[in-house]
């Protein structure tokens, strides 16, 4: 598909991810087949060669993310997609990309787990793994989507944020959103904001890939362009060389966090509906947000003061937005296909100022509007 003007299509979430990636300038994809993410790879295996890009099926997910990081260091926008078991295998190299500050996008279409779980069934059990799955203290950016159009937009945004902040970005979807088909408007290319990777403005002799800059994000030169430098997962100095010196480690570590924390306004996105007077705020994300929206509408029709806060960014956690909702809310309802991973975060922010009630399901079936309505009535 060659998109020239805004087009309306009946398309699947996975397709929208693939199209969003192409629109964002993806030129390298490495992956290993796994349900329910495989469609993304299959589509890109057709699309990428047409633009001279690279598609490669690797021997496993560890190698997939490794190849993605290698390609990104060599200057290509690069991504991979996977699901539960594969996401587990990617954790070590995900940490490498965080520490070495290499942009890349990792799509995880969540399926029911742990272990092999239910490969074709939806879940939202990887929220905490996305946050803390790789070892060591680290910042991370995780986006999500609940409509096919959002799959497209959030994929583009994942690339843009990863390039802007030199960080891996995880797009955390669920099986329902990835497999669902709906009428989708794909914007015209000129209406899509695409950020190209900032390049160093200094000659190679002056280039330090990890130096402190005003924006906390030093530009990343590509391998093979005259800037010969070192990349390592060891703690490193501004040149990228391993260091044991606290006076080099601490500033680097602080910058790593600061570049994300000081930019939560740009990174964190939510959508509020009917929040102005809401006594009950439903906090939802992914496909569950669709059921939550329906439940909210039905409750409103009965005159209940219910609002919806839909999360589009999961990490950094939308603390501000939850905080704002506490002004009116006496109660937060958090439906999710797990045992309460985002609920814990809401509790952390609410600090007892309102009730926080979870609506959970983890047996591979979706949460229905009825289940949410019942929880609304019950508490």
């Amino acid at each position: 598909m060659v998109v020239e003007a805004a087009t309306v299509r009946f398309m699947q979430g996975s397709e929208a991810v693939a199209e969003g990636a192409m629109a964002a300038g993806l030129r390298f994809y490495a992956g290993y087949p796994i349900t329910p993410s495989t469609e993304i790879a299959e589509i890109l295996s057709r699309r990428l060669p047409r633009v001279g890009g690279v598609f490669i099926q690797m021997e496993d997910e560890i190698g997939s993310l490794a190849a993605v990081i290698g390609a990104s260091i060599a200057g290509l926008k690069a991504a991979t997609a996977t699901s539960g078991p594969g996401f587990s295998l990617m954790q070590e190299n995900l940490g490498f990309a965080v520490a070495a500050e290499i942009p890349c996008v990792l799509v995880n279409v969540q399926r029911a787990g742990p272990s092999t779980g239910q490969p074709t069934a939806p879940a939202q059990g990887d929220v905490m793994q996305a946050r803390w799955g790789t070892h060591g203290d680290h910042p991370i950016v995780v986006l999500t989507a609940s409509t096919v159009r959002e799959c497209f937009d959030q994929t583009v945004r994942s690339f843009n944020l990863s390039e802007r902040y030199r960080t891996p970005v995880i797009l955390l979807l669920d099986e329902v959103v990835a497999h669902m088909r709906e009428r989708t408007v794909i914007p015209a290319p000129e209406d899509i904001y695409v950020l190209e990777r900032p390049q160093p403005a200094v000659p190679p002799e002056w280039y330090f890939p990890y130096e402190e800059t005003d924006a906390d994000v030093p530009p990343l030169a590509s391998f093979g362009e005259g800037y010969r430098y070192h990349v390592t997962g060891l703690f490193h100095d501004r040149a990228g060389y391993p260091t044991l010196r606290q006076d080099e480690i601490n500033p680097w570590f602080e910058r790593l966090f600061r570049k994300i924390e000081l930019n939560v306004d740009e990174i964190v996105q939510t959508q509020g509906e009917m929040l102005e007077d809401a006594r009950t705020v439903i906090v939802a994300y992914g496909s569950t947000a669709r059921a939550a929206r329906q439940a909210m509408k039905e409750a409103r029709a009965k005159g209940r003061r219910v609002g919806l806060l839909k999360l589009l960014t999961l990490w950094p956690f939308p603390e501000e937005q939850i905080e704002r909702a506490t002004r009116t809310a006496r109660r937060f309802l958090v439906p999710e296909m797990n045992r309460g991973q985002v609920r814990l975060e809401v509790e952390r922010v609410v600090k007892g100022r309102a009730d926080v009630v979870g609506v959970h399901r983890y047996d591979g079936t979706v949460i229905t509007p009825t289940q949410i309505l019942q929880a609304l009535e019950a508490h």
Binding site: F28, P49, G70, A78, G224, R228
Partner: protein, 281 residues
């Protein structure tokens, strides 16, 4: 392309990097780095066009000292990172340095698949028969009966033959050298770099600290002598000398096979672009 005079090795080292290096005095890793650099120098390669990628281990610390585009990755994964670089920048010469555990234990899967794919990478496996960095545990190339910190009663598993694996997995070029035969090693690495396709150079190296001390060769010199006395060149074997009980050195495999990036860009991309016009939207 070959330079008239050999460029001094320090031209390829990062002089501003805080030397001394991390290796024990007498370790083979430094010698291997020297050979790689001399091979690159001989070939007159543009440093900007060379990437050196490593995994984790004592051998993995090599790239930081070399003035190329250098990447120190995760344990066992160097070849997969290198595959990404090569496919993104097919004109770069990508050298991959790994330890024996790095390449054949944790990284064994990437090793055989890189060979099968035949991506144009030069893989240099520093085979010291032990896990050096972590202090002397058995590796997949530790000889049977040898001692290690995790084989207190002697290694009971059979070792891998790295060159045979590379051959069976489909590499274009496979060679074996030792640190003792250092001039020969440099030539083998040079040939491996020039060869289009996946090339493997297994280097028998010495780790007297972690291996030698547990196996009655507590100095680097003793271990180097062992390399001298227990290996024989393929040329000598061809001339009729007996290889009985010895490890062969030299070029073991050299064959013409389709190389991955060539096939990908000349066939897959070309075919996809040709079809774009008439294929489904």
């Amino acid at each position: 392309m070959t330079m008239q005079t050999l460029p001094p090795i320090h031209e390829y080292l990062r002089s501003h990097k805080k030397f001394p290096h991390v290796w024990c005095a007498g370790c083979g890793a430094g010698n291997v780095l020297g050979s790689i650099i001399r091979a690159v120098g001989h070939l007159g390669l543009d440093r900007d066009e060379v990437a050196m990628v490593s995994g984790i281990g004592c051998s993995g610390r090599m790239p930081v000292y070399a003035d190329f585009n250098t990447l120190h990755t995760t344990h066992g994964r160097a070849l997969a990172f290198a595959t990404g670089i090569k496919l993104a920048k097919p004109n770069m010469q990508v050298l991959v340095v790994m330890g024996d555990g790095d390449a054949l234990a944790i990284g064994g899967n990437h090793f055989i698949h890189a060979a099968r794919r035949n991506v144009d990478l030069t893989a240099i496996v520093v085979n010291n028969g032990i896990y050096g960095l972590t202090g002397g545990q058995v590796s997949p190339t530790t000889p049977m009966g040898a001692y290690a910190t995790t084989a207190t009663y002697g290694q009971i598993e059979r070792p891998f033959d790295i060159a045979k694996i590379a051959d069976a997995a489909g590499a274009s070029f496979v060679a074996r050298g030792t640190v003792y035969h250092i001039l020969e090693l440099e030539k083998l690495i040079e040939q491996a770099i020039v060869k289009r396709g996946f090339s493997v150079v297994e280097v028998i190296s010495q780790c007297h600290t972690a291996y030698g001390r547990l196996n009655m060769m507590p100095t680097a010199v003793e271990m180097l002598k062992w390399q001298r006395d227990n290996t024989i060149s393929v040329a000598a074997v061809a001339a009729g000398k007996s290889a009985e009980g010895k490890i062969t050195r030299g070029v073991l495999v050299d064959r013409e096979l389709p190389e991955f990036t060539d096939v990908y860009f000349n066939q897959v991309v070309a075919r996809a672009q040709e079809l774009t016009g008439r294929a489904e939207r």
